[in-house]
Symmetry: C2
């Protein structure tokens, strides 16, 4: 375990915590961090210099209301949950607002040298469907073309979970309410846009989350990791599913190790997702971090998925059951046309909008949100497994490195004890036989604390890490520690 | 880890192995051991003295047939799988007979001093439904009142698993064939008679086994531990279920640790069962050893069950499903009378034999062999859990010890690396809060080898252990190792 002297740490503000929401802005050379009652702006080259700060606590009256509603005073603050680029001059941000979600615009200027960092306090918006009420709930969001896609909870009690699209010119749209087949107590991890073809009409939004399995009470409670899809141009149904997604589909993400007797060991608690973009923007490689659901057997795993497998599952059979006492089976009947989940576009069929979809398509989509087949990882097993250690993985970023003998994906894995593992998967002959090599294990936070946010700047060759306690910055490759001749370093 | 000098070991015969089938005969002072091609008789006081041996290999022609059928030559031997007292002068024994099961009678004489140990080779019987064909398959049996109850496989291919009653004057009887609801690739562990009332007509046979779960393909493959029940006076149905059990019921045995989010960690691979008899023969305490099904997370646990909970489950709702695509639900309709699973007796109703059962009872029994509710362990959790070690539990015997401050159950746990753990569970205040104390960990077999058989002689105060390599004998309590004053020893 190395403690690096080139580690730069921001030890947090006295009246803040929860440095969990990161926005990396390579162009402006800034790392924006949403925390408790504050939004910070750090210089990417050196976090300790040239910081800027927005203080955005709830009003005293709002705080009192929260307290009177029986909430813990610690939670009656404005925890920033959403932080995205909005346009060329502004960011969009939302926070829990002491159990009363609120959003606003932050002016950051066009160029780095503008040196602006200011919340437009005259222009606040309701944050319902964007930020959760409860800071403990996991939320994931993506802002694209002026519209915010957010997987979150939209009520005070934290029961109405949904995937929303808000902002922009269109009417807000969401997932079907009170239907556990659509979402069953989801914990959202991340949201991404991945194009399906060269035609933007086919663009899809993918959501990663974990939720409670609904395989029947008899089988016992379990968590399943999920990938969900939506069409960017979904505007809901006309007569039914009005202002609800008509193209939502989800599939199980399996990360398991094959066992004797065919009994596999599952890692189901999806913790983080990293998309490694390739030359083809339609086909990023999906890296995902999982932990086990057991409190007796603690372990972590990293699985890789490719988009071809994801698309094959969404084009495969829908999960179907005839009623509550039935098992889930693959739907073998006639699927209505156009196939639910297909985006309205010139590429795949002759309909212009989801509002034009025939009634049978909407009816089918409403009752068949899940696919029968799961998405299995590349090579059908994790690329990394860690068991028999007293920590678990929480975060992952991947750096693609050109070495003399080819390309390597170097993984930086954050843990729940404030450490980072630097791991590389090397093909042992073929890509079907990978050997994981642990290059370094670094202590980032002195106090054991959960690493909850991680961003990688390829331009700066730096890694940024967030936790409850503060923010740290670390060079990706520290050749000076090993010396230039060191094999590990050359590789990294 | 102690290596005892009072350990006595029989290192096996040159042409034998698999010392797996034990029969303890306290009256004659002998331990009978069934092995490969041999049955041995040991003196309980000292295994190295006064041994007797029966050699019972298959005939050369039988061995050739086995070889021609494509079986491994190592398995083309007579592995002794059944060894029980038959009457006052004879034992009954069965072996695989080179994939052609065979049984016979062993004369042992009335008194110890007769010194007889002889296979009645003129009186051999077909062993089908008593011993498996394949020595790798697990079999459990009990011989009582001249009848043999055996859970085994009854065909060459090892596919037709059933619970049989053979021998005696009645027609052989078995479980329904080709019905995975009854048995689904079971691995039998043990068979016991436990009276239900003071009336012998209510006597029940209980079987312990593990089998494949049939909760639907979608849920993934899993093993479930089971307790099965049969009436001793079941003679099958009259028009339907002829020569099949009409009183067979099974329930899941759960051994799990409660987890956060309600997701429990299950130990499902039942390995061994020990019944600790109490003053009331109707209510022994059931000790059961389990391991995990995962090859990544290896662990072992001991759970305790009481008969009141077992009986409550068998009197509870039957598991029901309307068809293959349905889920298992509790059967809430009208259960026919007499309730399936009840023994014909004067105690519980006015019918004399299972042959008199109404058709609707037989029809119901045939399609509802499983109970909906599982049997949970005492205190809803294991009394011992062992994880993060490189071995697993395989066998268990329990010695009830009177100490100055009360009664203690001292557990001797055999492992798959040839060691024995001596563990005592001490109530920490109440019986709902047990503290496990590891008293000793002893190496029994020098080479790491799986302990596959274990018997305890309370009369001799000795423990007997079997493995592939040989048989060992060990004193239960070795006060001389610690000295008389030692607290652990006084306790033990």
């Amino acid at each position: 375990m190395l403690e690096s002297n080139n580690l730069v740490t921001f030890n947090g503000l006295a009246n803040s915590s929860a440095y969990h929401t990161f926005l990396l802005d390579e162009e402006r050379g800034r790392l924006f961090v949403g925390a408790k009652d504050h939004i910070l702006s750090f210089d990417l080259t050196d976090m300790t210099m040239n910081n800027q700060l927005i203080s955005w606590p709830p009003s005293p009256s709002r705080r009192d209301e929260c307290k009177w509603a029986g909430k813990d005073l610690q939670e009656c603050a404005n925890f920033i949950k959403v932080l995205h680029p909005y346009n060329s001059t502004h960011l969009y941000t939302c926070g829990t607002g002491a159990f009363h979600p609120v959003c606003g615009y932050i002016e950051v200027g066009k160029r780095p040298e503008d040196n602006i960092f200011r919340l437009e306090s005259s222009h606040m918006e309701n944050g319902r469907g964007k930020s959760p009420y409860d800071p403990k709930l996991l939320t994931a969001s993506l802002l694209i073309d002026g519209e915010l896609y957010a997987g979150t909870s939209a009520d005070f009690m934290g029961r109405d979970f949904a995937i929303f699209r808000t902002l922009g010119e269109h009417h807000p749209i969401r997932t079907e309410q009170h239907d556990s087949r659509w979402l069953n107590d989801p914990r959202f991890v991340s949201v991404h846009l991945i194009p399906e073809s060269d035609n933007p009409e086919d663009d899809k939004i993918y959501l990663f989350f974990r939720e409670n399995a609904i395989d029947g009470e008899h089988a016992g409670k379990a968590t399943h990791a999920r990938i969900g899809q939506l069409c960017k141009n979904d505007f809901g149904g006309h007569r039914s599913l009005v202002n609800k997604w008509t193209t939502f589909l989800k599939a199980r993400l399996v990360c398991s190790v094959p066992g004797f007797n065919g009994i596999d060991t599952h890692f189901d608690e999806l913790q983080d997702v990293f998309l490694m973009s390739s030359k083809d923007p339609k086909n990023p490689v999906i890296y995902a971090v999982f932990t086990t659901s057991s409190n007796i057997f603690k372990g972590s795993a990293v699985c890789m998925y490719n988009m071809a497998d994801v698309r094959r599952v969404f084009l495969g059979p829908y999960a179907h059951r005839d009623g509550p006492n039935y098992q889930w089976v693959p739907f073998l009947g006639r699927v209505p046309y156009p196939r639910p989940g297909t985006c309205p576009s010139k590429t795949f069929g002759g309909f212009d909008s989801t509002k034009d979809l025939p009634d049978d398509v909407i009816t089918f989509a409403r009752s068949h949100p899940a696919m029968y087949n799961p998405v299995y990882p590349i090579n059908n097993r994790p690329i990394i497994i860690k068991t028999d250690v007293d920590y678990q993985f929480t975060q992952l970023v991947v750096d693609r490195v050109e070495a003399e003998d080819g390309q390597y994906d170097v993984m930086f894995i954050g843990t729940d004890i404030g450490t980072v593992l630097k791991v590389v998967s090397i093909p042992r002959g073929t890509w079907h036989d990978l050997e994981e090599v642990l290059l370094e294990e670094m202590t980032v936070f002195r106090e054991p604390t959960v690493i909850t946010a991680m961003e990688l700047s390829t331009k700066q060759q730096q890694l940024y890490l967030g936790s409850s306690a503060g923010v740290s910055q670390m060079p990706l490759h520290r050749c000076d520690v090993y010396g230039k001749a060191c094999a590990e370093c050359c590789l990294a």
